[in-house]
C-alpha cells in the first residue's frame, strides 16, 4: 500500500492475462488486488528431472511425438507451425521436452517457445509460440 494515498497494487481491469499491466488503484479488496509475497528460500524446489505425475511426462527429457499412422512420422516445427515429417535422428526441430517451470511442452529448437493453440486457444491449429501461459 502506498503510504501517501492508501492506493494498492492492482492488476489493471481485473484481466488475468499474460502481460496485463500492474498499476495502483483505490483499495477495494478484489482478487486483482490480492498478492502473495513468496520468498525464494521458502519455495518448494521442484525437481528438475524425473516423472511429473500431473502431466505424465518426464521433466527436461527430450522426446519425439510420433504419429501412429502407418508412416510413423513425427511432429516437426516448420516455421511457427507444427507438421508431421519423417523422423531424422537428433533433429532439434523434432525434439520436444516438458518444462516443469512453465508446465508446457517446449521445442528443443526454440527454448523460449512452447506448444500453443492458436488464437489463445480458440483456434484448432497447434503452433510453437513464445511461452506465455501454463497448460493447467
Amino acid at each position: 500500500m502506498n503510504i501517501q494515498d492508501g492506493k494498492v497494487l492492482d492488476v489493471e481491469g481485473n484481466r488475468d492475462a499474460e502481460g496485463t499491466n500492474v498499476c495502483v488503484w483505490k483499495k477495494h479488496n478484489g482478487l486483482n488486488q490480492r498478492w502473495r509475497v513468496v520468498y525464494l528460500d521458502e519455495m518448494k524446489a521442484e525437481p528438475s528431472e524425473g516423472l511429473d505425475e500431473d502431466s505424465g511426462l518426464y521433466r527436461n527429457r527430450p522426446f519425439y511425438m510420433q504419429s501412429r499412422m502407418p508412416e510413423r512420422r513425427v511432429a516437426t516445427v516448420s516455421g511457427s507451425n507444427l507438421v508431421i515429417k519423417k523422423m531424422v535422428k537428433d533433429n532439434v526441430s523434432q525434439l520436444f521436452y516438458f518444462d516443469h517451470l512453465t508446465r508446457t511442452i517446449k521445442s528443443q529448437q526454440f527454448k523460449g517457445k512452447s506448444m500453443d493453440i492458436q488464437s489463445s486457444g480458440r483456434g484448432r491449429s497447434v503452433q510453437i509460440w513464445n511461452t506465455n501461459a501454463r497448460w493447467w
Binding site: D5, D16, E18, T20, C23, W35, L40, D41
Partner: protein, 92 residues
Amino acid sequence: MKDEPTKGQLNEDFGFYVERPFHIISMLPSRRYVDIIDRKNIVIKTPNSYKSQVWWFDQKSRTVKSQMYPNESLDIQNAGRNKNLQIWKSNS
C-alpha cells in the same frame, strides 16, 4: 532508538524481510508473477525463472528493488500522481 533491521531480519513497519529475495504473485486464478517488460513497465507474467520476476526490500532506501536492476525500485509514475507502476532509479 530501535536498531534498524539488518539483512534477513523483518522490518515490522513494512512487513518485508530485509534483502531477502521474493516473488510477488497475483491471486487471480492463473497465479502470474509480477514482472518487468520493456525495461521499466510492470506487468503480470507466467513464471519464467528470470531475475525480472525477483524483488527484494532494501532497508536503506525503504523501497522494493528489482533483482534485475538493483539500483531501481518499484515506483509510481509522475512522482505518485499517475496510476501506472514502473521501476525507476531509487529516489525516495
